[in-house]
């Protein structure tokens, strides 16, 4: 029996791995349901594969970096449409969200109502959580407030960096989307309302763990946790962490947990002993000497 949906159009928005997987899945189901599929790239990612997926499969690809232009583009959708916000920081205007023929679902990289807003994996690591997860929810006018469609959990391991946690969460998000898509299209997904605590904190992009500064006199375990929480590889989600060494401001270049026998003397290096016998190696450079490594 053919699958049916009243949605005439599915619009996927986002960037990165989860968006690629969601886009591919929505494309794979297109013939079965008969909807029109469109992809929008609002934020450009240097290593994104979504443009290739569109090219290979003949999916209309729109690169719309400007927020106002994107709002206008979405506002012009006249038919009943499902907007899938896969990994996307664009805030949908209330005027769009409230349209009866528009349904929007969003992937959030935490177990809502916990850690709403930006950079949730960072805050989960920084706060020392042992578990976190993902949420697909319907979008309402409030940020990350809509009814929950599906959630999945994962463990935060002791050495996990923000980008590693992000990868786990994206895999979970793609899996959860595949499991829920048919019900979403049939508009029969069983949802539940979020229950908000008083004083719920909405994390903003400008917030940085420890205000971006390391105190090297702090417990090395805490320093390691802070560094892991802001580590998205070369994706400059946060400004580089900094500290003060010998009275001079120093930018943290990289860090690594190593065994004690691998410690070597060298300029621009600090070694901090961890409780488990390993050592936290931190490479830095003075901020008034950016011409080369110290």
């Amino acid at each position: 029996m053919a699958s049916t949906t009243l949605f005439r159009k599915v619009v996927v928005l986002g960037y990165g791995k989860v968006t690629g997987e969601v886009l591919q899945y929505v494309y794979d189901r297109q013939a079965e349901y008969g909807y029109e599929l469109v992809f929008i790239e609002h934020e450009v990612h240097a290593l994104s594969v979504t443009e290739k997926i569109c090219r290979d499969n003949g999916i209309p690809f729109h690169r719309i970096p400007d927020k106002k232009e994107l709002a206008r583009f979405l506002d012009q959708i006249g038919e009943k449409a499902l907007l899938v916000s896969a990994s996307n920081n664009f805030l949908f205007p209330a005027s769009l969200v409230e349209k009866a023929h528009i349904t929007i679902i969003n992937f959030h990289n935490a177990l809502l109502p916990a850690y709403p807003g930006r950079n949730a994996p960072t805050w989960a690591i920084y706060k020392g959580e042992e578990r976190t997860g993902i949420t697909w929810h319907y979008v309402t006018a409030g940020v990350d407030e809509g009814n929950i469609i599906v959630q999945k959990e994962c463990r935060i391991t002791e050495d996990m960096k923000a980008y590693e946690l992000t990868q786990c969460l994206m895999d979970l998000a793609a899996e959860a989307f595949r499991e829920s898509f048919a019900d979403i299209l049939a508009e029969c997904a069983r949802t539940r309302e979020q229950e908000f605590d008083q004083g719920r904190h909405m994390y903003r992009s400008s917030e940085v763990p420890a205000d971006g500064r390391l105190d090297l006199a702090d417990r090395p375990e805490r320093i390691y946790r802070i560094l892991r929480s802001v580590d998205y590889g070369k994706n400059a989600i946060f400004p580089p962490m900094w500290t003060v060494i010998d009275g001079r401001e120093a930018e943290i270049l990289r860090y690594r947990k190593i065994s004690e026998d691998k410690c070597k003397e060298g300029e621009g290096l600090v070694y901090l002993p961890l409780d488990n016998g390993e050592v936290l190696k931190i490479k830095y450079r003075y901020m008034d000497d950016k011409t080369g490594l110290t």
Binding site: G16, K17, H45, A46, L47, S48, V49, K52, Y163, E164, T166, Q167, Y232, G233, K234, N235, A236, L253, R254, R256, L293
Partner: protein
């Protein structure tokens, strides 16, 4: 140096060693998260800084491109 780069690649993405095309990202051999791990290990091993401007698909299109990138950065 080349041998060490290949060791790092092997550790994170064995397929990359056999790959003979010219776009590992688009061909699904390597993903953005693997690139982060490879970059981190290259920086540590060769004590270099790989600026974000170099972390683009072009420089990770195959193992030869990665070797060329590290060589270039070490000569700078």
């Amino acid at each position: 140096m080349e041998e060490k780069i290949l060791e790092i690649l092997e550790e994170h993405c064995e397929e990359a060693l056999e790959y003979e095309g010219d776009n590992m990202m688009e061909d699904g051999v390597i993903d953005s998260f693997t690139v982060i791990n490879v970059v981190s290990d290259l920086e540590e091993e060769f004590d270099i800084e790989i600026d974000a401007k170099y972390v683009v698909a072009e420089n990770f299109r195959n193992k030869e491109a990665i070797i060329a990138l590290v060589q270039k950065l070490m000569e700078e």
